[in-house]
Amino acid sequence: MEQGANYEGQPIHEPTGWWSRYVFSQDHKIIALQYISVALAIGLTGMFLSLMMRMQLGFPGLFESIDAGSYYQDVTMHGMIMVIYLLTALFLGGFGNYLIPLMLGSRDMAFPFVNMLSFWVYFLSVIILVSSFFVESGPTGAGWTLYPPQSILEGTPGGDGAGIILMLASLAVFIIAFTMGGLNYITTVLQSRAKGMTLMRMPLIIWCIFLATFLGLLAFPALLVGAIMLIFDRVLETSFFMPEIFKGGEVLDYGGGSPVLFQHLFWFFGHPEVYIIALPAFGIISELISCHARKNIFGYNMMVWALIAIAGIAFIVWAHHMYVAGMNPYLGFFFATTTLIIAIPTAIKVYNWVITLWDANIKMTVPMLYCLAFLITFLIGGLTGLFLGNVAVDVPLSDTYFVVGHFHMVMAVSPVLALYGGLYHWYPSVTGRMLDDTLGQIHFWITFVGTYLIYFPMHYIGFLGVPRRYYSNDQYDFIPQSVNDLNQFITICALIVGAAQFILLYNFVVSLYKGKEAGPNPWGACTLEWQALESPPGHGNWGEKLPVVYRWPYDYGLPGATADFVPQNVPDEQIT
């Protein structure tokens, strides 16, 4: 438990110049910022692609350049960018890097050089991904799940070009980056905690990032294997996933493979991936809700065990994405049961957050607003998951807009709300200045209400049976004109929400220079990252002496103390 003490007084990878300070930096804080910047930049690209999609759905034919092929390319790249290159990278590479050493009272990550490498390899994966926009026939349009056979055949955009190969190669490189970062996070959490920081005194967000990393390290290899085998199928004409195929008037040179096998590999990764994104969001909410409600988090032990249960069960629910995929139908009983069981620890998380609000002293700050919005959105998204996870209920709803509404609520809007809450909360720790509150409020309201208006109605056109991934609904008599009108409304909402994200960027830049001075601990938080000597924390984080931890991280409203919070590094006898 006292491994951190080994670093006491030792200078580590001290930067020697501008390059090693800001570019090839080994400081976890700089690496975190690099991750966040690149992830946000590629995330903006992903948002732009979604608006292109929305333009086609809301105003078909307005942009002649959006043909069916490019529509599907937008769908595919939007999905992959948002899930992997934005959210996974930002939560673990960004928040994980910034918070793990600071919250645990370490000088840096366990392996700073590998940490730096992790970012640059991630950057390379983004470059490879982006390069696919510039090859002939463009990026892959196979849908973000990249299901073979169509993903590697002509008839799908980029399927016979370089698009799909670049996509798969980029994923493989990303996984290498993630593995380097992930081993680092695990090791740091297990080995570099400050004196007194027992596992059960760690802030919940560290638990969340730790477990999400575990999930990633165990789940990503399945995707890596799938990606490599798919590249082989495409380039060397092996047939791991390819059965006999008759296409274009001839029998192709494939045979004997199974397309369903790829789906198992993909979702063995893909479902834990949902939690790789959701757990850090849970963690952010746990920190923010306790701090801004000025109350201890309710049921810490239960929260930790619920997290561990979620992380464990997350590995045995994957085939709920495949109920109607043509797998053995009896598997449906098992996967429906496990899927609904995972709802129980997830519900416990929600209960504990809302009970934390009971008899609290709630400050309606921007981070708190994001917490509350997260709770409402996550409730909707989580509850609709019970429809889709419940096998027979999934049959009419699978692959309709109900699914689009559900997963955007639960793993797009919810994590992004948590993410924004986290950015508003920790911006002062990074920059020493507060973000502008008015701009923050405007950004919050547009984002929260706007996204609800975008995704909530989608559930109902899903009930109607409108299939997702349709470039146009015109051919179908069962889809009434009112669906197109609704699509127009949703597109307008999406454009407004999209534009509102620039308020955040503007706020970021302006507050850097004009923001109110934050001081060392503007929110009155208990966790260690706010207790550093310097604000913002300097290289090595703690100056000469490492912090020592005496209590759990949620001593808000501790009886007997004058202040409404007691930081983790304050011993009992110093409480006033």
Partner: protein
């Protein structure tokens, strides 16, 4: 306060919306009403949970707003409360799961006494096969596919000779009779989905998947592909007409058997070839451009290419566009058509003749 107002509107609006939504299930036309019931049960259970939890949040925000100098209650654990909540949630989960599993059991138990139909998917058309008088399908093999034998039936299998082939997107079914669809795909994943029947199942190349239902309402219903299958996914539309038994029998008697199609001449069969190869999924015969340009009134006209040049649509251009489609792409179209390089001269001529007949 703004949050309280907006959140209250959202919660009430979300609940009320279920009563007033203009978008709801399509009218049920099969035996799968129980699936609708499971959705309704889920809506109730989840609706109660949603209102309870959001109501609690809103109440807390009103009641426990920040007051300077006030301190929150300090209560890290309350085991009793946690146990109660866990038990209540577990009960809710069981209430949801039980009907779900029961419905699924019904869904996957294929009836023995059902009419059998084979549904075959390919980019981006549906075709069907009935086993014929002997009630046994002829063996199929992925290696036997050809533009002549688009179902890949073994020509030497006696059971296959009387198989009835439906080489168009419309299939008929008798009302109030159970039907089992044996689904397979020639190329990529597809999904056989009829919204009014609620039923849905993927088609996977290299294997068979099954789906059963019982149509309960006369009429024509649309089949929509619900598994992304390439650029033309959204255009992969089929039709199911539910007939009385007499009408169904009459319709079925008109359809050709495998034996008959084997002995069809190619000449004059351009329309049929275009249908079975899937050309019609992108090239309409009614003047409306789809993924590809329509064939109506195009023969002999000039086409603007994406290079800015123009080309006259004649026999040579049609042949080149079939054998090597990306050579000259029409302006405004994506280069997504597969090459049909193995078609015989006769087949290409037949298609060309058919395109000619579409010009007034």
């Amino acid at each position: 306060m703004a949050f309280v107002i907006v959140a209250t509107i959202i919660v009430i609006g979300t609940v009320l919306w279920n009563a007033v939504s203009p978008w709801w299930f399509t009218p049920l036309a099969s035996n799968w009403g129980f699936l609708d019931t499971t959705i309704i049960i889920s809506l109730w259970v989840c609706g109660v949970a949603f209102v309870a939890v959001s109501g609690f949040i809103i109440y807390c925000v009103i009641k426990f707003r920040y007051k300077e100098g006030h301190k929150a209650q300090y209560q890290p654990e309350n085991t009793k409360l946690e146990v109660i909540l866990t038990v209540v949630t577990t009960i809710g989960v069981v209430v949801l799961l039980a009907p779900g599993l029961i419905a699924w059991n019904m869904y996957i138990q294929l009836p023995d006494d059902a009419l059998e139909v084979e549904g075959v998917g390919q980019q981006w058309v549906w075709t069907y096969r009935f086993p014929g008088e002997d009630g046994i399908y002829g063996n199929t093999n992925g290696r036997l596919f050809s533009s002549k034998n688009t179902f890949g039936i073994d020509p030497n299998d006696p059971n296959g000779q009387d198989d009835i082939l439906i080489r168009s997107a419309e299939v008929h079914l008798p009302i109030n009779e159970k039907v089992v669809f044996q689904l397979r795909s020639k190329d990529v994943l597809h999904d056989f989905y009829i919204p009014q029947f609620r039923a849905k199942m993927d088609l996977v190349p290299g294997q068979q998947s099954n789906l059963w239902f019982e149509p309960t309402l006369l009429g024509t219903y649309e089949v929509a592909c619900a598994e992304y299958c390439g650029t033309g996914h959204y255009a992969m539309r089929g039709l199911i007409t539910v007939d009385t038994r007499e009408d169904f029998d009459a319709w079925l008697a008109e359809q050709p058997t495998f034996f008959e199609t084997l002995n069809e001449g190619v000449e004059g069969q351009g329309k049929q070839i275009a249908q079975t190869l899937g050309c019609v999924a992108c090239h309409s015969d009614d003047g409306v451009n789809g993924i590809g340009p329509t064939w109506k009134n195009t023969f002999g006209t000039e086409r603007l290419l994406d290079t800015g040049e123009t080309v006259v649509i004649d026999e040579a251009y049609i042949k080149e566009s079939i054998v090597n489609p990306v050579a000259k792409i029409g302006s405004g179209y994506a280069p997504v058509m597969p090459a049909y390089a193995t078609l015989s001269e006769e087949e290409i001529d037949a298609i060309t003749d058919y395109i000619k007949t579409l010009s007034d």
